[in-house]
């Protein structure tokens, strides 16, 4: 049977669209379950939890005076708001990915570009933060002030070449962990979009 013969069948499709499940207004009141719904819920949770954690840390620091002398706590004061911003931007990205604009191919291309660029920004920001932590730790060791981060004092006793090996290990773990996390959250979705684009070429 040729494709043109299907036209008759296609045009004769008849459906009882007066049934409740096809009602437009009651349908728009429902929540859409997109492939990104779980991720959206997780990001929303983080956007709420992280500021609460930040507030908790502020309260604890004011109650326990020793915490004021811990550099790690001060770092948390910087990292927590940055992480909150990251999750907020992530939430915005997901909302953006759920939107559909323009022709199908252009829209998919836009989503692929957005996903890749968002991942690159995340990778670079976290890399810079890790590098800052390494440089600060090393500077404190060289200036005998590592007691500012009591948790890191053990590093002082490790010889320099081994320390560099540990730093390299941390950077390596971050590389693989961030790739794993990205694939876990967006990998399947991104591959699906790339597959569709390849099909459209």
């Amino acid at each position: 049977m040729e494709l043109d013969h299907f036209k008759n069948s296609w045009n004769s499709i008849s459906v009882d669209l007066s049934r409740n499940e096809f009602d437009i207004v009651s349908t728009i009141k429902k929540e859409m379950e997109s492939p990104l719904s779980d991720l959206k819920r997780a990001s929303r949770r983080q956007v709420l939890i992280l500021p609460l954690l930040f507030a908790f840390l502020v309260v604890m620091t004011s109650i326990i005076p020793d915490m004021k002398h811990n550099l790690l706590v001060w770092m948390a004061f910087i990292v927590l708001p940055l992480t909150s911003i990251y999750y907020y931007l992530n939430l915005k990205l997901i909302n953006n990915l759920e939107e559909k604009n323009g022709s199908v191919k252009n829209d998919i291309q836009r989503k692929v570009r957005q996903l890749i660029s968002n991942n690159n920004i995340y990778l670079n920001v976290t890399r810079v933060l890790i590098l800052i932590l390494i440089v600060v730790t090393e500077l404190l060791i060289q200036n005998n002030r590592i007691n500012l981060i009591p948790e890191f004092e053990i590093i002082k006793s490790i010889i320099l070449p081994l320390r560099f090996l540990i730093y390299a290990g941390v950077i390596g773990i971050h590389y693989f962990l961030s790739r794993y996390t990205f694939n876990l959250y967006f990998g399947k979705y991104l591959n699906q979009l790339k597959g569709l684009l390849a099909e459209m070429e």
Partner: protein, 166 residues
């Protein structure tokens, strides 16, 4: 339940296109649960995008873009598709499709043949069956006119081979 003005406008404008949306769902979903889920997702997606519709494209073009895009990038449907066997695909019964007597067999043949196609090919076939000119198909899908013609020939060959082997 009281309807807002925007909801009334949306409903009025969409009323004539319900069958079209259903056809998109029927193309991509293999059982009535999936059809309902996809129908719901498409309507919600259209509703979300509706305030941004400025009339730069025809309403039907805008609707096709969103409906096909939603169907293509819908994950839940794909998860279920994997579990559905070819046998099920060909003997699917949809409770709300009206009895069309002798044509029923032709419908089953058509759906069975369409299920052999990839998701993108399905969208091209659907627009072809809707008698859309290649220019409009390009506007909807974003695939160039020349590529669409090449793909259309391949699809015809694929369907011919499938129906001849049946």
């Amino acid at each position: 339940m009281k309807k807002t003005d925007l909801e009334i406008t949306f409903e009025t404008q969409l009323k004539d296109y319900k069958l079209l949306i259903y056809k998109v769902c029927r193309m991509y979903a293999n059982n009535h649960e999936d059809i309902q889920d996809l129908y719901q997702d498409i309507i919600i997606q259209l509703w979300k995008s509706y305030p941004k519709f400025r009339g730069e494209a025809k309403f039907s073009t805008w609707l096709y873009r969103i409906a096909i895009n939603t169907a293509l990038t819908n994950f839940r449907k794909q998860k279920r598709n994997i579990q559905t066997s070819d046998v099920e695909l060909q003997s699917i019964q949809i409770p709300y499709e009206e009895d069309i007597g002798l044509k029923e067999e032709q419908h089953q043949q058509m759906y069975a043949a369409i299920q052999q196609l990839s998701d993108v090919e399905k969208s091209i076939v659907m627009l072809y069956l809707e008698d859309k000119p290649y220019d409009e198909m390009e506007e909807i899908l974003g695939i160039s006119n020349a590529t669409l013609r090449v793909k259309m020939n391949r699809i015809k060959d694929k369907l011919r081979t499938f129906t001849n082997n049946k």
